[in-house]
Symmetry: D2
Subunit: 346 residues, 4 copies
């Protein structure tokens, strides 16, 4: 059994890691870290785990944890993981970081968009961007995984085949994303109160959202040439789910059949990416609670554009599920081990 | 592998049966029945099952199905199952009926409350009321299971220990229940449109709801003497969940400790009933997506009453999950086989 | 024009006071008090008031405000208003207190249920409980109004005719209430975050909720004899609305016609109480955004009980609307002045 | 008093017309038309109007109605109004059509996008597109108003100043819109049931939505040259509101100040368009229940694009409110007569 420790286990991504790992056939949780709730029973914070988890929340002691765990998940605020990273830690244990600390290779770029000084840039080159559909082989042998952001996961999987095969003009990419409110975290803020989110929609982080450079970097990796991307997230009154609507101009002569072929071929061996059939549009409910990413597209010859659409559960494929997928790869397990959750029908 | 057929597989309870059986280690679905969608791919109705289920909806042919299936689940409108029941059918296969047809032993009482003539009352005595916490042994050897209603399941489990041990005056029982909207079914009715249910609460079926006699009959079974029960359901803007608040006058001298002892002892071997600790109140979210029933109580010496509270997921423990629990018992499997879903944390 | 000052104008009840007073033909707001947002533009906190309100939030200076305002609304936490009350203040201005400070005449009872020492009990006898349907004449000449709580308003109006005419056994009263989340206030608490309230229902304050003694006191006022009441509130995933389901045993021989007569007669001159016709059940959406209280009932001869039901908008008739209704009475205006809002159809 | 008749008064837009006209100082409703509910009390369909409206629903008899009403609002399915239009009707009464029948001047284009044959194209040239911010003077003297669609209203008002002043490359316009579920109408369809819309987001009508040609035509009117527009609507789990996020490439040298100036100047005399200050993003809740359109923008020099955003209440400014605004213009009343609703704070 893989021994797993979770730092930040009482946030929404952390709690979803718990839900998934509890039913994982090859892993067990040895450490429920939560700075805010040290000493409190985990099942008191999330009543769902009553009579399932009888552990108590522990402090964020990475050094001690490294001796006990085969893998540490850090579901922590930006900057935390980078501030604690050491060579010794990585010698003892694998680290899957759900924060953004190791996602952007250029520390200056990280500091510009995040406004945080990166304390351990020496690990940036080693860290592997943990999108299995992109970096499966590198992940298998990594010590430190930069688990992708929720918006980048959804956005990249939505456009990957089109970008890789050059079907679109990459410089025209516009990503309009809609996210459920778990994406805003579990911090006690007025703006995230029920009555402030319910019955309303708004954009946020317009032109400056931190996931922008992450998306741009990966698009550049896929195609081999850099470009700027327009990214606008919106907050939606629902708990889970991200829907990305992506617009791009078609390269001359590109047809619906080219898209169909690209998507079917690129994803034909992927367990967790479902390419929808003609005319089918993703919906976030069809992936809720599961690790699937559903992708589809419509070609608009009238406007000369592709409209590509993707849907994920932001705290599963966009966070905890993907982290476990990475864990499976790191430890040589079947990639879908513990991840065969069927999405809810309603 | 148990071969299971589902009649009414595109309703909400039917679709949840699919979700559960798809991950059941000892069962497989051989028949996706749905009168409304005959010939249509099941995954077109519920996109969640895309690339998971590749079957097509079939008609409601119980006779043909009986030859193929070891067990048939009827998640159908009231009257359907009773109209099709035959001795031959029960010789060939087990039937778990999720409708109310065999829940009430007295056909006149059934006809009074449901306004439907019962076509096969000869099977009423044989049918076992499928609440495992009450009738576990009888279920094991049954051919025909009357799967309990969602409100009765929640209500009965909430009061069972108090009623059984005579801690309350049974004639004072008042059940005020709050249900998510899956309980209203998937029929295309104006009153169940999003905008008609969202941002509002109402009572319905006040004094005349059909689950009343079912609750009364089981309360009478538990205590050995009949009584009338006040039952009022309310419709709540959420998908899943039932919360029952039950009021009853305390018998003289009864204390909080008597309640604590009764609940802990009655449920100590039950996998799916969780008795909450002192001061903890159930919430429907803590059982969402799982087969748990969470129960708790507060003793109010000031008013001389007990306030007993229970929460279930109406389409799991209140329908599909309980049906699978019954199937497990019918086939000698571990009672929690395929039912170890961890409730969602959010 | 009546000059009105609002202390606590950025809470949900305060903001609703603003919405109503802005369109009141005889009143204007001269003071937007908000300790948390002093110096900030009011329209920055509630974007709805952009280009409608150009005032800035001021501190909670009651003395200064008393010189400027004809009436002060205190939409503040328990204890605040009582701590500031002086004879001088009441000589200069009228006070309508939306907190509980002057609702319970017995300061010991207040301190027991609220856990707060009452600093100015000398004003308790003078304060008038501001439920116009009960105390209209006293309100007209008062200086200090104790604006009723949201649950008591809904509960009392739901049972008033039955209690007043002795149709029910008052000692059997059980009130099961369901409230929207504005009732939980605008404080930044984890338990009120969108994802903690959405898709779930729970009871709270079971057997100990602070509105219990207020309801009991008013029931005693109406009938002339005291009794204990069972009161249980529940939190519902919606913004606005309270639905109260009230159970009580019928006095011998009481019929549906007795109830019909009692309700029609008691409320025949009330602008804001709508007695629903036979078989109609209230819904919170039918009163949303308005000052109406809708009440209805079903007589259950089978159980010997009445089920009385009421619905209000908790921040209108349950708070701000009722406060303006009281202001209208205090200043000799038509009672519905500024309060003729038509409830939203959807 | 203006006598107003409403055809289709029980749909969501029709019901909102009722809510607004009931409080309009210069209008009264003389005809509650509703083919589906003929003979039924209007207040039985919408309980909000109990004791406010005591009328009964009438059939859709335009000829008879024309004799009684000064203005007829047709809140009816596409094709209805065009099928009934006659010269005689327009001689007797004004018509404000909330359907799309007279919005698109070219009947072939209408038939292409709507798949409906236009029965009275002879009135297309006379009909005035009823967006007051665009066509105020023409509206005043019209007989037949084509009340704009909800998405076009929001989209056009969001981009009008930028398009009119040529600040953007009009051929790059992409409109990504998010709509509440009242936009889907009140028809009894499975896809609009509470449980099918709640907790999910999806796009619909991708590349083929019928509001596309309407938006394109008006953009062409404003700028004087035609272009194709990419338009994608999404369905959001909330009742009311549309949020439009509009992307376009900046013309060379265009700055944030150019935008600021354009928006402030264009809208400086508009009562119902609120241009948000620097850094402020619209939210649909800030306009809920009101006739306001809130617009804002962010200039992204990094990508060379403008991100323009607008929010309206889809059944007020996007339907019924705008229709009343048009009525006010038609009858020489102040444009905001009956329309000074303050948006809800929560």
């Amino acid at each position: 059994m893989i021994k797993a420790g979770i730092i930040g286990s009482t946030g929404y991504a952390g709690a979803e890691l718990v839900r998934i790992l509890l039913r994982h056939p090859e892993a067990e949780i040895v450490w429920y870290g939560s700075r805010s709730y040290v000493g409190k029973e985990y099942a008191e914070i999330y009543g769902s785990y009553f009579k399932i988890v009888d552990s108590v929340c522990l402090d964020d002691n990475l050094d001690e944890l490294a001796n006990e765990a085969d893998v540490i998940f850090t579901a922590t605020p930006q900057g935390f993981c980078a501030s604690k990273m050491t060579e010794e830690l990585l010698r003892k244990t694998k680290v899957i970081d759900l924060s953004a600390d190791y996602r952007i290779k250029d520390p200056k770029r990280y500091e510009e968009w995040y406004g945080i000084h990166h304390e351990t840039p020496e690990f940036l080159q080693e860290a592997v961007y943990g999108l299995p559909e992109l970096n499966r082989e590198k992940i298998r042998t990594a010590r430190l995984i930069a688990n992708p952001g929720c918006f980048p996961t959804c956005s990249i999987l939505t456009v990957l085949p089109a970008v890789k095969r050059g079907l679109i003009d990459q410089d025209t990419l516009i990503i309009d994303a809609k996210s459920g409110t778990t994406g805003a975290g579990r911090g006690a803020k007025v703006q995230n109160l029920y009555c402030e989110v319910n019955e309303t929609v708004k954009a946020y982080g317009v032109t400056v959202h931190r996931h922008t450079p992450e998306i741009e970097d990966q698009i550049a990796c896929i195609s081999g040439h850099p470009s700027v991307v327009q990214f606008t997230p919106h907050l939606i009154p629902m708990n889970r789910g991200i829907f990305a609507t992506v617009y791009a101009s078609l390269k001359p002569g590109v047809t619906e059949e080219d898209f169909r072929k690209a998507y079917e071929e690129e994803y034909k061996d992927e367990t967790f990416v479902r390419v929808l059939g003609d005319g089918r549009i993703p919906e976030t409910r069809w992936v809720k609670g599961s690790n699937y990413a559903d992708v589809g597209f419509k070609i608009d010859q009238r406007t000369g554009r592709a409209v590509m659409m993707g849907a994920i559960d932001n705290i599963v494929k966009g966070a905890a599920g993907q982290a476990v997928q990475n864990m499976n790869l790191l430890f040589g397990l079947p990639e879908d081990s513990g991840l065969r959750m069927v999405p809810e029908s309603v």
